[in-house]
């Protein structure tokens, strides 16, 4: 399951020189990792997985993913609170808050308001 040793070996493997051109760096790296025998170099990618396709279009960067997640979350808060006037502080949420104010053990007072 660990990938570190195999990734290090990528630089020396005899994979076709255009492999990186036809697939994204991540697909290329992971393909090589999976194909790499424990004691030697990778076999030809085309021999093993001839039809592997690179994802077209720009892949999401991590920062873009997180920014998009925050935007979606904010949009949904506005939708639920603003457009639907939904009271978020109800049910289990109130139980959790009340339990946090005391030293009483939690759990026993929960589950009184069941979510959909």
């Amino acid at each position: 399951m660990r990938v570190k040793p195999a990734v290090v070996a990528c630089a020396a493997d005899p994979t076709p020189s255009n492999a990186q051109d036809v697939m994204s760096p991540e697909v290329y790296r992971l393909s090589v990792v999976q194909l790499l025998p424990p004691h030697g170099c990778a076999m030809s990618l085309r021999d093993k997985i001839p039809s592997v396709q690179a994802p077209t279009g720009a892949p999401l960067s991590v920062m873009r993913l997180l920014a998009l997640t925050v935007v979606l979350y904010t949009f949904f808060v506005l939708y639920m609170k603003g457009a639907l006037a939904f009271e978020l502080f109800q049910g289990d949420v109130v139980s959790y808050w009340n339990d946090s104010l005391t030293l009483a053990t939690p759990y026993s007072t929960w589950c009184r308001a069941i979510r959909p």
């Binding site: 399951m1 660990r2 990938v3 994204s24 991540e26 697909v27 992971l30 393909s31 990792v33 999976q34 093993k48 997985i49 039809s51 592997v52 396709q53 994802p55 077209t56 279009g57 892949p59 999401l60 960067s61 991590v62 873009r64 993913l65 997180l66 998009l68 997640t69 925050v70 979606l72 979350y73 949904f76 808060v77 939708y79 639920m80 639907l84 006037a85 939904f86 009271e87 978020l88 502080f89 109800q90 049910g91 289990d92 949420v93 959790y96 808050w97 339990d99 946090s100 104010l101 009483a104 053990t105 759990y107 026993s108 007072t109 929960w110 589950c111 009184r112 069941i114 979510r115 959909p116």
Partner: protein
Amino acid sequence: MIASVRAATFGVLPPLAVMMLIAGSSYVIGVAVFALLASEAGITSPREVSLLFAVHPFVGLTSAVYPDADSVATALLLLCLLYYHREQWVSCAVFFGLMILTHKAIWFFALPLGVIAFIKHRESRLPLVVASVPLLALIAAGAAHHNDILWAVRSSMKNLLTSQTSFFPVFDGIVASLIAGGFAKVSKVVLVLSALSLAGMLLLPCYRRRFWIGVSVAVGLLIMAVVVNRDNVWAIFRFSKVLLLPLGYVLLTPDSAFVRRWGGLTPIRFLLLSVGAIASNVAFGYYMAKIYFVR
């Protein structure tokens, strides 16, 4: 955790702001950890799959916005799975201990994960046992406080697990919902059954490929389906979003037949899935706000 955030913010934030700060942060952390785990598991387009996890049909966004323990528990579960996958047992055990303290639904996933770790990885045994001590201590303290050894599970046994259809003690959540009838309950059962079917289908390929975290998630959902009753059957679907990890592993690793024959997660498929998932969240949010919580 709530008390800690209250203390750290000097008690100036209103209750809802504190709860949303915790749940919202956990949601974003969960998506980031999912992306990391998907990448390390070898899933192609891991960040696109993570975005689909973030907007999982019906519950991805609605469950994140309603600031209960789901997002925190899911983030801790994913962190535990990440360190399990890396075979870093101390970190894995820390998040294991935190996740079983946070949400009882997580116990269903913790059980198969712990059993597999015990069997497969001898070095995981001590850290996982130590990680269970805080929960056991809480249960012991509660037993003394409430004079009831089963205090921690009694309300759940009564409200969430006890069968409401006396003739059928297992799968009550599904059976009782079907018997109750009505569009909402039948729709709920259809969605739950689709999640359970997916879990069942993923079990064998994950087992064959020794993808143990996928096996744990699938088995956890199936156990949950056996014991929960009608009032809690939706929890199966809420937590089924983690199934995207084994699903992505089976369908979207470079050597999978789906990638080789069908091209995997193409941009148009990703777009259609994302838009459909967001639309289902909008619809379910409307149901929560205008129908379920006003009854």
